[in-house]
């Protein structure tokens, strides 16, 4: 049981780190000196990846995966309101 839980935690960590490295490639920080260009597709991708990462931390690291329903609902609502809000304000 412990080994399964350990493996799941490690998989979550690997996916989270991989997404972070992908984010490096998306960021505008490499164009030092040159002007960065706004990009809707990249920002939408960033919002989606941020949502996925946040949910993985909550579900796997904070162990909400096995927590009571109210905690799952509250944390999901927080994630959805936050990221939908960020995207809506950006697109507006």
């Amino acid at each position: 049981m412990t080994t399964t839980a350990a493996r799941t935690t490690t998989y979550a960590w690997i996916v989270l780190s991989a997404i972070t490295i992908v984010s490096w490639w998306l960021a505008p920080g490499h164009t030092r000196g040159a002007a960065a260009v706004a990009s809707v597709p990249i920002t939408v991708a960033v919002v989606l990846l941020g949502f996925i990462k946040g949910r993985m931390i909550i579900r796997y690291f904070m162990e909400v995966r096995t927590a009571p329903r109210w905690l799952k609902l509250f944390t999901d609502a927080w994630l959805i309101i936050l990221w939908a809000g960020v995207l809506a304000i950006y697109l507006y």
């Binding site: 049981m1 412990t2 839980a5 350990a6 935690t9 490690t10 960590w13 989270l16 780190s17 972070t20 490295i21 984010s23 490096w24 998306l26 960021a27 505008p28 920080g29 490499h30 164009t31 030092r32 002007a35 960065a36 260009v37 706004a38 990009s39 990249i42 920002t43 960033v46 919002v47 990846l49 941020g50 990462k53 946040g54 931390i57 909550i58 796997y60 690291f61 904070m62 162990e63 909400v64 096995t66 927590a67 009571p68 329903r69 905690l71 509250f74 944390t75 927080w78 309101i81 936050l82 809000g85 960020v86 304000i89 950006y90 507006y92």
Partner: protein
């Protein structure tokens, strides 16, 4: 005969314990205690409000924010994210070790997680000092005001997290009196610090 009876009793006991462990796996469990979750969920709401306020200001001056964002060092941002994710992995594994009654391993993992937290603070201090050297301060513009404010408040939470991890360590030092919910509560707070950083990283460093 007595031996056979004992074996049968052992088998029964083994079956009963495996049933109860399966049942425990299915039962829902709130990690830590209610007080910690009140604090964590409250913090999430407050930070959520900061993030939305940041976006509203960003939407008013998108060009200025984007032009300033370019001056942040993405390498350091990614490195710090990886450091915090590693620390969360150590802490999550530490809770699992404590659950399996391997307190020595749980202590080692908590130390490693805390060490990553210290590394995060040092890297952040280095990042701040290079920004200040380059002339980007809190009064440069609105983007940098948010940059120092959000990362500063977050840094305070990292420090508080380290203090909480030291309480976890004290708890783990005495296996017989170790309260698992205290270990879980400390971990819950630490992962929240990680969770908030993930959002800060996306909004300040990556989005365009």
């Amino acid at each position: 005969m007595a031996n056979a009876e004992q074996t049968a009793a052992d088998l029964d006991a083994a079956a009963a314990s495996s049933v109860s462990s399966a049942a425990r796996q299915r039962t829902l469990h709130t990690p830590g205690d209610g007080h910690m979750w009140v604090m964590v969920l409250g913090d999430l709401i407050i930070f959520g409000a900061y993030f939305i306020i940041f976006m509203v200001h960003r939407a008013m001056k998108p060009q200025e924010f984007l032009a300033s964002e370019v001056h942040l060092n993405i390498n350091i941002g990614v490195l710090n994210t990886l450091v915090l994710l590693a620390s969360s992995w150590f802490i999550a594994r530490s809770v699992q070790a404590a659950r399996a009654d391997d307190h020595a391993q749980a202590r080692r993992l908590t130390y490693l997680g805390g060490l990553c937290g210290v590394a995060f603070i040092l890297i952040k201090a280095y990042e701040w000092s290079t920004k200040i050297d380059q002339g980007y301060t809190i009064s440069t513009n609105e983007f940098f005001m948010f940059y120092y404010m959000l990362t500063g408040v977050h840094l305070f939470h990292v420090s508080l997290g380290l203090l909480i991890l030291s309480i976890t360590l004290r708890e783990l030092r005495n296996p017989r009196r170790c309260r698992l919910f205290m270990v879980e509560a400390g971990a819950t707070y630490w992962h929240m610090v990680d969770l908030l950083w993930i959002v800060i990283f996306a909004l300040l460093y990556v989005m365009r």
